[in-house]
């Protein structure tokens, strides 16, 4: 395609600015000394220091990490298996399975959360970190399937067949040929799943009981009450953390 004309570049430039400026401004003012106004009154780390003293944030962080790690592990394993089957095998009910994986991705979050709440309450499961983890696994499986399958589509199935012809059994062929090539996709899927879990507020808040707040739930409470620039500080830390994770996932997904 020919290089884009200048006016088009200008529009795109403005859109990029709109996309990133709000967050950059947010980060900038997390270092602003003034508590109430947005005029710049000197550089400070005070808001970050104030975060350290908040027990609810630390508890929220621990809850989020626990839920994130467990749900990522389970979703990555089961999602990878589904991706393998979808990419390599022909069987009846394939379309149904594809729909089953696809549907959670296009269902509004609020409906996923509400319907799980109905299930948990009717089944008599106590709401808490357990129900949050179950919910996160459910929405993460689909993400893992999509990412891993994209990677699988780029791996030549003939390689594994060659290994079989050369005398390896199925397990050896998978372990020594397909798995090493697939590994970056699995890690990328896991990192994305962890990010989704770590970020989620809507579904989490619906299936969590009293006293089991994840980090986004604590932050939501802070945003609601508009607590000073500490919200900017915690937002900055979250942004930094997720950006690093996503950067890693992106690099891995493209790795040869």
């Amino acid at each position: 395609m020919k290089p884009a004309p200048k006016w088009l570049l200008a529009i795109a430039g403005i859109v990029y600015l709109l996309l990133h400026l709000p967050v950059l401004v947010l980060v900038l003012f997390s270092f602003n000394a003034s508590r109430y106004s947005v005029s710049w009154s000197g550089f400070t780390f005070d808001w970050y220091r104030a975060l350290a003293a908040r027990g609810d944030l630390w508890r929220g962080l621990r809850a989020s990490l626990t839920v994130g790690l467990v749900s990522t592990l389970v979703a990555t394993c089961s999602g990878t298996l589904i991706a393998l089957v979808l990419a390599r095998r022909r069987f009846t009910g394939r379309r149904v399975l594809e729909g089953l994986v696809f549907l959670p991705l296009v269902t509004p979050e609020i409906l996923v959360g509400i319907s799980l709440l109905v299930l948990f309450v009717l089944a008599g499961l106590p709401l808490g970190l357990g129900t949050i983890t179950i919910a996160h696994i459910a929405f993460n499986i689909s993400f893992v399937v999509v990412v891993v399958r994209a990677r699988l589509d780029g791996i030549d199935p003939h390689l594994e067949e060659a290994a079989l012809i050369l005398g390896a059994d199925e397990i050896t062929a998978f372990r020594t040929v397909t798995l090493p090539a697939l590994w970056p996709g699995i890690i990328a899927g896991a990192l994305l799943a962890f990010t989704m879990s770590f970020d989620d507020y809507v579904i989490t808040s619906l299936v969590s009981g009293a006293g089991s707040s994840t980090l986004p739930m604590v932050v939501y409470g802070m945003v609601r009450r508009n607590v000073e620039p500490t919200v900017n500080a915690i937002s900055t830390i979250i942004l930094l953390g997720t950006s690093l994770l996503i950067y890693g996932a992106d690099r891995l997904a493209r790795a040869r």
Partner: protein, 293 residues
């Protein structure tokens, strides 16, 4: 080793067994924690309301009838209009960006990464960033006051404008990526041919590029419209009490109002709109792309 060989032999005899074993954990999880809850909701929407939340036995269509009350239909209609407006705005802003990325050679992966990054950064944090910009003591009002453009802060937060901005800001990457994917496959020779044949730039855009990018435009529109229909956080934090969307109505029925069946019926109102949108987009996609006016 013998056990392993025996397992492999068994799987070789019955490949379906192997397929089923591999699918079982994830598949069962999705059935149990996605399909079953949806069916329960469907059931709840036609049952009697429990006094303290929950449901009681007894079939009724009362909740759907109640949803047809103008009061609630107005909320649904507002949600549809806002989701549609957000989709159009995302299309107008996203198409140029997708084009620039597809046309760029050296910076393509950086430009793509910059679109994907906000998609993965916390939605909550990004919504807070909008509050920080829009509130009375926010960045925009402070800047306008300092410049002397306005005397009093103008109300930006808790307005339809705030909700729309939030929706566009939140879902724009969903629009850019699919359009980029279809523009990337566009054969530049076609555009050059149109140019040689005398088509002006806008004609080339309207009669060559846009029809060929149609699958991406349709997919992107669907990916923006659907989450916008179900959005909860944006209207909750940016819209205030007056700008309720259907997602807030549903959430409220299950938490504060404790009317589960009505909340479930309202949810299927959202689902109905989403399904119609999906079907319309599939029809549009499958229409013969060769017939260009």
């Amino acid at each position: 080793m013998t056990l392993r060989r025996r397992i492999l032999a068994a799987l070789a005899r019955r490949p379906a067994l192997g397929t089923a074993t591999l699918l079982a954990p994830g598949g069962l999880w999705l059935v149990l924690f996605f399909v079953v809850p949806m069916l329960l909701m469907l059931g709840a929407s036609v049952m009697q309301r429990g006094t303290y939340g929950g449901v009681e036995p007894g079939f009724t269509l009362e909740h759907y009838r109640r949803f047809l009350d103008p009061l609630y239909l107005q909320v649904l209609w507002r949600t549809i209009v806002w989701a549609a407006l957000a989709t159009v705005a995302c299309l107008l802003l996203g198409f140029p960006v997708a084009w620039v990325i597809a046309a760029s050679r050296r910076h393509r992966s950086l430009l793509l990464f910059l679109v994907v990054l906000p998609f993965w950064t916390s939605f909550l944090v990004r919504t807070f960033a909008m509050i920080f910009l829009l509130r009375d003591t926010g960045v925009i009002n402070s800047a306008l006051l300092a410049l002397g453009v306005i005397r009093e802060p103008i109300a930006l937060l808790y307005t339809p404008f705030a909700v729309l901005s939030g929706l566009v800001y939140g879902f724009l990457p969903f629009m850019v990526l699919p359009i980029y994917a279809s523009l990337e496959k566009l054969d530049p020779a076609l555009l050059e041919a149109a140019e040689v044949l005398g088509a002006r730039p806008l004609e080339r855009l309207a009669r060559v590029a846009i029809p060929l990018a149609r699958p991406g435009i349709i997919a992107g529109s669907l990916l923006v419209f659907v989450p916008a229909m179900g959005s909860f956080l944006t209207s909750d934090l940016l819209g205030g009490a007056k700008q309720v969307m259907i997602g807030n109505l549903v959430q409220n029925q299950f938490t504060t109002a404790r009317n589960w069946p009505f909340g479930a019926a309202a949810s299927f109102g959202v689902m109905a709109v989403v399904l119609v949108a999906v079907m319309v987009s599939l029809r549009l996609r499958d229409r013969d792309p060769g017939r260009v006016r």
